[in-house]
């Protein structure tokens, strides 16, 4: 049984998503508990896997007992064990949190929401755990398709945003598939470890260059790197609160994980860093993404939309950090994947609570929220401070390593972008905090916001507990960042 845990991580959410509509047919309210139950099992399994990996190293799981180059293999090393825990714990938190918000926003569709929710988590976990390039494509599409469905049921304008996301996302996935095809025709293998062994003789082949270009271009669309981020803000702003809390932190981070996998496992660091200018391009792409994301976030008046542009900027941090190509910067980038996932989910859950109480995610409707919902706004403050990078929240530490990496790489432009981005975040979040502290709107406010002002109070416990837990998680990861670094991240970084 213990040996089967890696496959159980995928099978539990997949099977439970099949049973979810049946259970919902019997008792509609049970589908929520079913989702929470199966995601808790899944989280336990991934935490167990992480502990095993820390204890005894990489786990290889052969599906059906077929030997690796022919059969599909699941490989869990330190990097994806960490990702598994991030995905399963965050999705569990969001599932617990989603009850009231789904009841309010999607009263008729709760059963189907949880069905697709579980499929979405299956897709994410599958992308992370698999050691096979084509299997990764299949899971990428399972995750994306479930995501399209979850976003499309949002507020007005969501279907059009989803349609654009489908078109962009399909281009991204097809480019990835094409890159895999080029790798396959030149090596004859799809297993990541096997391809890694076969590729070095082919490094001067133009087919391999085409493959790496297609793979990275496809993933750039999926991770919303700056010039191809256009699908992200609309889709995540108009999605239901629970959906954006699930997808916004995870989808981008998982694409970043795949990028690191491709650069340092499928191709060897030697190719990605020394033979090709891939990493130089990535630093500048990150530089542009950080500044553009920050500046566009400043222009937003909608809280969720602002967070979406913050996500675009954070993607720039990680892409740039990997692009700096020294051990400390890549450590910082991997740590930032963890930190940013936790910070983003924290802020999006706060946005969901505010949406639940005020029916709006416009910043100008935030008047007096600090007084009315102190616990929620505490979680918001922690998330905001972490995005800005104030110790002891976790955002500080990964940013610190990124800055050190930029100094070692002598890349001053990226360093300036990192510091500027902190300043921009200060402006961004203090604008929200200022409005939140002012109780009476000086301009009179909208009719509906003043009409409801009396009824706004603290959020229900089922939403508040996960949100506060995430906020505490932000602080705890910050305090214990050294343990995370030396036990997990240090092994996830390639030897340069």
């Amino acid at each position: 049984m213990i040996a089967q845990i890696p496959i159980l991580i995928i099978v539990i959410p997949l099977i439970s998503s099949l049973f979810c509509p049946l259970i919902g047919l019997w008792r509609r309210g049970l589908s929520y508990f079913w989702a929470v139950f199966s995601l808790s099992l899944c989280a336990l399994a991934s935490i167990n896997t992480l502990l095993t990996v820390i204890d005894s190293g990489t786990i290889h799981y052969r599906l059906g007992g077929w030997a690796p180059p022919f059969g599909i293999e699941y490989v869990v090393d330190h990097l994806n064990a960490m990702m598994l825990v991030i995905v399963s714990v965050i999705s569990l938190m969001v599932a617990v949190y989603s009850k009231r918000s789904v009841e309010q926003e999607l009263p008729e569709k709760a059963v189907y929401f949880y069905t697709v929710f579980l499929l979405q988590v299956t897709g994410f976990l599958g992308i992370v755990i698999t050691g096979d390039l084509f299997n990764l494509y299949v899971f990428l599409e399972i995750g994306s398709l479930a995501g399209y469905a979850l976003i499309a049921i949002g507020e007005d304008g969501a279907p059009l945003a989803t349609f654009r996301y489908i078109v962009m996302g399909t281009i991204g996935a097809c480019f990835y598939l094409l890159g895999v095809g080029y790798i396959y025709i030149s090596t004859g293998s799809l297993n990541m470890a096997d391809v890694q062994q076969l590729l070095p003789q082919l490094y001067d082949s133009k087919v391999i260059l085409t493959a790496i270009a297609f793979l990275l271009a496809g993933l750039a669309v999926k991770m919303a790197l700056f010039p191809v981020h256009v699908w992200l803000p609309d889709a995540y702003t108009k999605a239901p609160s629970a959906t954006s809390a699930l997808i916004a932190p995870l989808m981008t981070k998982i694409s970043l994980y795949v990028m690191i996998r491709i650069l340092f496992t499928v191709f060897q660091p030697h190719l990605s860093i020394e033979l090709l200018p891939v990493t130089d391009i990535m630093v500048w792409a990150g530089f542009v993404a950080i500044l553009a994301g920050g500046i566009m976030a400043l222009a937003q008046t909608d809280f969720k939309r602002m967070l979406c542009y913050v996500v675009v900027a954070e993607v720039g941090y990680i892409v740039g950090g990997v692009g700096l190509a020294n051990t400390i910067a890549i450590k910082g980038a991997v740590l930032h994947i963890l930190n940013d996932a936790v910070m983003t989910v924290g802020l999006f859950t706060v946005a969901g609570i505010i949406m639940y109480k005020t029916k709006s995610h416009d910043i100008s409707d935030f008047h007096g929220l600090f007084k009315k919902m102190p616990f929620t706004m505490f979680a918001f403050m922690v998330g905001a401070l972490s995005i800005i990078g104030v110790p002891p929240t976790c955002g500080f530490f990964s940013k610190w390593y990124l800055i050190q990496g930029a100094v070692i790489a002598n890349h001053w432009a990226f360093l300036i972008a990192l510091l500027l981005s902190s300043l921009i975040s200060v402006v961004l979040f203090f604008r929200v905090i200022e409005i939140g502290y002012v109780f009476q709107a000086s301009h009179g406010g909208h009719a509906h916001s003043t009409g409801q002002a009396a009824t706004i109070d603290e959020a229900p416990l089922s939403m508040l507990i996960p949100t506060i837990a995430i906020a505490l998680g932000i602080i705890l990861i910050g305090v214990y960042n050294q343990a995370v670094l030396s036990n997990i991240v240090a092994f996830a970084v390639p030897q340069l």
Binding site: F134, V138, E141, G157, L160, T162, C174, L177, G181
Partner: protein
């Protein structure tokens, strides 16, 4: 040069098809036309994969005849006699994924049509702006 064009004709065809699909996805304003472009784009990749498994000179499908009769070394497979089956198998999976994508895209189109009564992108944006 002629050799270069004719010798790789399968790649030229897939590139041509892919660009037609790409153009339709980017430039067309009608959502259904975009979906059609998306399908052409995906089919181009299927053709690319399948065409890479072809071998010239009387190759056949990889089915071993009479494999269960007799024993011994005469079952050794000469791979040059058989087309590579793996790209076909991969593409079966990819076709399933693409059908699912098509289904979701058309479903979203239905949602859009019910809400705005049109499938022209600019008209939808206008009616969203009007609120």
């Amino acid at each position: 040069m002629f050799e270069f064009i004719v010798g790789y004709y399968n790649y030229w065809m897939y590139i041509g098809l892919m660009m037609i699909g790409f153009y339709a996805m980017m430039a067309k304003r009608n959502l259904i036309k975009k979906i059609i472009g998306m399908n052409i784009f995906q089919s181009a990749i299927i053709l690319f994969y399948v065409s890479t498994s072809v071998k010239k000179g009387g190759v056949t499908v990889p089915i071993l005849e009479h494999a269960h009769e007799g024993h011994g070394a005469h079952h050794a497979v000469d791979i040059m006699q058989y087309a590579n089956p793996l790209p076909h198998v991969l593409m079966l999976t990819a076709i399933v994924v693409m059908v699912a994508t098509l289904g979701v895209a058309v479903a979203v189109c239905i949602m859009i049509y019910r809400r705005y009564n049109t499938l022209e992108e600019d008209e939808i944006i206008m009616s969203i702006k009007r609120g």
